[in-house]
Symmetry: C2
Subunit: 243 residues, 2 copies
């Protein structure tokens, strides 16, 4: 069903899912960019000018409170895009988009996005479906924050990363994870220590290696699977070859 494009833009699943004609049309508007760790793609409330389709990079959507504490509401990698507000009409959101794992992405200017979106084709369909899948992710984060332990959430967070990464190794300190999860660094250290003791992960100074994915899934809360299944339900028929 899905067409093989002649470009590594295919690494982004949403782009890869486009029919040949739509792909050819938007291809010239896609500019490859390299994103560095910690780079801020969008600042909260700031007018957006481009939408990003990550290929190897992972971008984190963060809320920053008045007192400076932070919490992640969602993550996008080659399964999605960053910059939903551009086609939803708001042009901006109250969240910040930060590069959590350095890598590449394709950048598409706002004008090209609007042109293609307004045609009402598969491009629009896929973008809207992805938006719904992101809503599920955010919703699940909300209930997860309320009802589950730090350790369960850490497992979930590691699994999401694992899905978006090409490797088992994750460059990430406990401190950064704490900022994402909205908890203390010590809390992450304790949870990670426990997971290491169980043999699910290993880590040394800023590098976490996932040793046993299945066990991690069992140690995570149901939230991980709900979001994953919902993504597959919404976009699976477009992204047939994936996974």
């Amino acid at each position: 069903m899905s067409v093989k494009h002649t470009d590594d833009a295919v690494m982004n699943h949403l782009i890869a899912a486009l029919p040949e004609d739509e792909f050819i049309r938007i291809k010239p508007t896609l500019e490859p960019v390299s994103l560095t760790l910690g780079e801020v793609i969008y600042e909260s409330g700031q007018q957006l000018n481009n939408i990003y389709f990550p290929t190897t990079a992972i971008i984190s959507l963060l809320y920053i409170m008045e007192n400076g504490s932070t919490a992640e509401i969602g993550m996008s990698g080659n399964d999605g895009l960053v910059g939903i507000a551009l086609y939803m009409g708001g042009s901006t959101t109250p969240s910040r988009a930060v590069v959590q794992s350095a890598g590449n992405a394709f950048r598409m200017p706002s004008s090209a996005l609007h042109d293609e979106f307004s045609l009402g084709g598969v491009f629009q369909k896929i973008l809207l479906r992805y938006t719904q899948s992101l809503m599920t992710q955010i919703s699940q984060t909300a209930v997860c924050n309320r009802l589950h332990s730090v350790e369960q959430q850490l497992c979930r967070w590691l699994l999401i990363n694992h899905d978006l990464l090409q490797t088992n190794k994750l460059i990430m300190t406990h401190d950064l994870i704490a900022n994402m999860l909205g908890v203390r660094r010590e809390g992450v250290s304790i949870a990670a220590g426990h997971l290491q003791q169980l043999g699910l992960i290993k880590y040394v100074r800023g590098t976490i290696t996932m040793m046993n994915r299945d066990a991690l899934e069992r140690a995570a809360c149901e939230c991980y699977r709900v979001v994953k299944d919902e993504y597959d339900r919404l976009l699976g028929k477009y992204i047939s070859k994936n996974r």
Copy 2:
């Protein structure tokens, strides 16, 4: 700017914001329905057939976990609609929509919705903008669940209700609120008791009366205002007369 329609469908702000021609076109497809307290509009994962535009009713979006505990991710009243998944492409969501405050709504069948949505007019714009505003609400709920106290969240929750209601009186037990907030009934009782002591609210057996809205806003976390401001930013220009 906004046209005065000849119908009480105007009580729903999104419908009221439509230009005359679009309103006339969708009007015959709107069926007034009465919604009773506790009624389940949509069940999690169940195929949707209608979208709802509340006028006096308030609908709560709930997640139900495997162990039966619940948490609210958002609320819609005459400021919005229920059934986003219908035009986003998913046809369903993992959440349940429950009537939290009895009242009326307009029901629009899926087919009519798709017809009008695909025209790419103001209707589509407004629906997408509302979706973004709901995403903000859900996102803020996520960080609020992580970072703020039960009392702060209770204030926020009361304020949202107050905005959607036509009165200061809220028919709601501590137990139900606890289900919404995803906390214990006792926790709500303690927080509510404190707010009553401060003179912000009064309550007796299932009825809560808001006494001092300004003070409630000061006692709430920033989350309330962020969501409200974002809604106004996204939809304010359409809903000029509102507030």
